[in-house]
């Protein structure tokens, strides 16, 4: 009571730990679905990623001679590893998750100065690093082997897949976007390539080959709506990203439907839903005004579509996010709210004797 405290003498019941926890809860349905869909290997990979992030972050904080507990308790490192794990192929080997997590929390975050200081989304930076360095492991997809199905893997088999890279019979499959890209190189058009590969209902639920937690479009949407309702995120960036993907996809598919996939294919495949609601809403690496966030989201969506359509990689969300992360300071420089009593350029409003 001796030191002087500044107003306000009241505070909303919020904290960074609570924010992170809410995001994790919103991610849980899609994650559990991924666990069910791909079985024990997915659970192993997720756990390995999170443990690696905790140990890696604790290690660098110790080197910096800072208190470890408050940094770990804010939950941001765990969330980063969680998001990274959701974007990995579910049957990837353990070291992919470890390398990715360590890269995300150490290079992606702590080297910049820790929470709040990093320019690039750590999970996406790690994903791009893995994709460039280990293209084979990062693009080997497996057909879903649900936990409850008769040919689902038991715990032991799951551990073999994750830790001994043991292949499974009939495991090799392709993600939708990868498949389309491959078929194009063989001169096969969309109408044929998509047959039997894309059924909107399955895509909505996520019953397909893909990353661990990116496929369940509806569950991700649900999580995103929870975050919007809890005011953790606003609608601007997600809606803009979905528009950024869907609008050009619609226009081009109307022009040449055999060459350009329609909006539904784009929205329900790859990392668009996860990206729109959980990646580009990362506050640290996105602009700080609603208008800025809208521009940011639109850019992420457009670039995703451009990379998918004309780029060398089948999927573009991670690259698009990193490119727009780099543009964030620029957006913040030019998109500022109008200040009370001033016009949009910052000059005082004229006096008018009512």
């Amino acid at each position: 009571m001796n030191s002087i405290a500044h107003s306000p003498h009241a505070h909303a019941p919020s904290s960074i730990g609570k924010v992170m926890l809410t995001v994790m809860l919103a991610l849980t349905p899609a994650t559990l679905f991924g666990f069910w869909l791909y079985g024990w290997p997915a659970i192993n990979l997720w756990a390995v990623a999170i443990i690696a992030a905790i140990l890696g972050e604790a290690f660098v904080i110790r080197i910096q001679q800072r208190a470890v507990k408050p940094v770990l308790m804010d939950g941001s490192g765990i969330l980063t590893a969680w998001l990274l794990a959701l974007s990995l192929p579910p049957y990837a080997p353990w070291w992919i998750a470890v390398l990715g997590s360590l890269f995300a929390v150490i290079v992606g975050k702590q080297i910049f100065g820790g929470l709040g200081q990093n320019v690039f989304n750590p999970a996406m930076a790690a994903r791009v690093m893995l994709l460039i360095s280990f293209p084979l492991e990062m693009t080997t997809w497996g057909a879903p082997l649900p936990l409850t199905s008769p040919n689902g893997l038991n715990l032991l088999e799951g551990l073999r897949v994750t830790f001994l890279s043991q292949p499974i019979d009939g495991m090799a499959s392709a993600s939708l976007l990868g498949h389309v890209k491959t078929e194009f190189t063989r001169g096969i058009g969309l109408d044929q390539a998509l047959t039997g590969f894309f059924t909107p209902m399955d895509a909505l639920w996520g019953m397909r080959a893909g990353s661990l937690g990116e496929t369940a479009a509806l569950l991700l949407l649900l999580g995103g709506l929870v975050l919007i309702a809890r005011r953790i995120i606003t609608w601007h960036a997600p809606v803009a990203m979905l528009l950024g993907v869907a609008v050009p996809a619609l226009i081009f598919s109307l022009i040449d439907g055999n060459h350009y996939a329609g909006p539904l294919v784009h929205l329900l495949s790859g990392g668009v839903m996860l990206g729109a609601f959980f990646i580009i809403t990362d506050p640290v690496t996105s602009p700080n005004t609603a208008k800025g966030q809208f521009i940011f989201g639109l850019g992420c969506g457009l670039l995703t579509w451009v990379i998918r359509t004309w780029g060398g990689y089948p999927e573009g969300v991670a690259f698009a996010v990193l490119l727009m992360n780099a543009a964030t300071p620029l957006i913040d420089q030019y998109v500022k709210p109008r200040i009370y009593g001033r016009d949009s350029k910052g000059a005082a409003l004229p006096a008018s004797k009512g």
Binding site: H6, S7, P8, A10, H11, Y340, G341, K353, G354
Partner: protein, 497 residues
């Protein structure tokens, strides 16, 4: 409907702090028993402190002038009770610093003998100047908390379009304005009419937050015969801030760096309107005010009418004392009030509340790093980027913070309130504003010093120049004299030849 259109162009941002007004809202205003001693500071307003006109040892009557206004921006101070002035000296200030300030100590004699008051039976016959003069003489200042001398505002706002009466009371806990509107609506409405007459306002709007339905009802009832509009405003902090209430009720904004009068608006608080009524109708100076005593650590929160100068401790005792140890004492509301560490400080004209808060209510935590979540940006009613401003101030880049609009910050505390990282944003801004003011003062001082130094070197140069000129003149004169002497000698020699 016009009112609806106005709400769509309403306040930006804002927050919904827990109101906690139920603690004291149902408790009617009760007069505090006369304390033995009152401590009346000379400065209870924005501007210059008042100048004492009574001496120590003198007996004063209730309402008698103790100190007179000094300069253009100032207000007089009156005796809140009859008694003896026992001291004029330092007493702890109602300010977080707790520094001593010049204060009258008045030993009350309990006789409550009033000085002769200049009542007015027909106040609406008064001229605008007379109303302003009586308001000035009564020592009325803005009772919403800003304590700007009210008469000055009247004089600067003559001929405005709209008079807004602020019954927002958006600060949590405080119910003093709510109670005064419920219980003294008729007097307030007459006070409002007098203010409107003093500035010749064409339109009068009373804005009250919709969490005070009884007050709205009472004010509507009292205002039925007049043309003033009583408007229910959405309950959102900082609705009662001058800039925000104007924006919500008129759709206009005060130009940056300007005053409400620039857009033809004048804003006064409801309690100020009541004080104006008391001053004009009965000639009573401002010597008491309604104070809310509340907070989780107060046994029975209440609203009291306390004499100016009453020690805060007396109010706490009147409210039954503490029910548990208070983690923090606050003068004013929790959002913008000041932390006090001494309950010997007096209630002054601007004291709207005394809060004894528990640590649960304060809810403060160690600050953690900013995650740029921009919750503060969404909360700011002015349209600032608090996170960016704080980052600049942390890096000692004050001009960067000013470029981002530091001077437009109204210090309402919405950003600090919502920050999930518990960063004391307003603290940064007020620190920076203080630093800026200090820099400006030192710049003025430097300029003055430079002027003096320039004047000195110029003076020295002039003296030198004058001396050189004088020397040259003298030399010329001497030479002329010598020449003349020589010529004279030569002439004499010639004549002699």
């Amino acid at each position: 409907m016009k009112i609806f259109e106005r709400f769509f162009s309403g306040m930006r941002g804002g927050v919904h702090p827990e109101g906690r007004k139920d603690l004291s809202a149902a408790r009617g205003i009760r007069a505090l028993p006369l304390p033995q001693q009152l401590f009346v500071p000379l400065q209870q307003h924005i501007g210059a402190p008042a100048t004492p006109v009574v001496n120590v040892g003198e007996r004063v009557l209730k309402g008698q002038l103790l100190a007179t206004a000094q300069g253009n921006v100032s207000a007089p101070v009156h005796a809140p009770a009859s008694g003896i002035i026992v001291a004029l000296g330092d007493h702890v200030a109602p300010h977080p610093s707790g520094l001593p300030v010049p204060t009258f100590t008045l030993a009350c004699d309990g006789l409550e003998e009033w000085v002769e008051l200049q009542a007015c039976d027909d106040p609406f016959a008064l001229l605008a100047e007379d109303i302003a003069a009586r308001v000035a003489a009564a020592g009325i200042v803005g009772l919403g908390g800003a304590t700007f001398p009210s008469a000055l505002k009247l004089n600067l706002s003559r001929g405005v379009q709209t008079l807004i009466i602020n019954g927002g009371e958006c600060e949590p806990y405080l119910t003093c304005d709510d109670r005064i509107m419920r219980e003294r609506a008729t007097a307030i409405v007459e006070g409002i009419s007098l203010i409107a007459q003093a500035v010749a306002a064409k339109e009068v709007i009373v804005g009250i937050e919709d969490n005070k339905p009884e007050a709205i009802e009472a004010m509507r009832g009292a205002a039925r015969a007049s043309s003033m509009k009583v408007v229910a405003m959405p309950s959102m902090y900082p609705m009662g801030s001058e800039k925000q209430i104007i924006q919500v009720l008129t759709g206009q904004e005060i130009p940056a760096g300007g005053r409400p009068a620039d857009i033809g608006v004048l804003v006064h608080n409801v309690a100020t309107a009541f004080a104006v009524h008391q001053a004009i109708r009965f000639g009573r100076p401002l010597i008491s005010r309604i104070v809310t005593v509340s907070g989780g650590a107060i046994k029975s929160p209440c609203n009291v009418e306390a004499l100016v100068g009453t020690p805060v401790q007396e109010l706490i005792d009147f409210a039954g004392g503490y029910s548990q140890p208070a983690a923090r004492m606050v003068l004013g509301g929790p959002m913008m009030g000041q932390h006090i560490s001494n309950t010997a400080i007096p209630v002054v004209k601007g004291s709207s509340g005394i809060l004894a808060l528990t640590s649960d209510e304060i809810g403060h935590d160690e600050a953690s790093p900013c995650i740029r979540c921009s919750t503060c940006v969404r909360a700011c009613p002015v349209g600032l980027l608090p996170l960016e401003m704080a980052a600049h101030i942390r890096a000692s880049d004050l001009s960067g913070a000013v470029d981002l609009g530091l001077k437009d910050c109204i210090a309402c505390g919405s950003c600090s309130y919502v920050c999930p990282a518990h960063i004391p944003l307003v603290h940064y801004f007020n620190y920076a504003k203080g630093d800026l003011a200090a820099q400006e003062r030192s710049k003025l001082k430097q300029e003055a010093t430079k002027k003096l130094a320039d004047a000195r070197s110029e003076r020295i140069a002039r003296v030198e120049r004058e001396r050189a000129e004088m020397m040259a003149k003298r030399k010329a004169a001497r030479e002329a004299k010598e020449r003349a002497a020589k010529e004279a000698a030569a002439k004499a020699a010639e004549e002699a030849v």
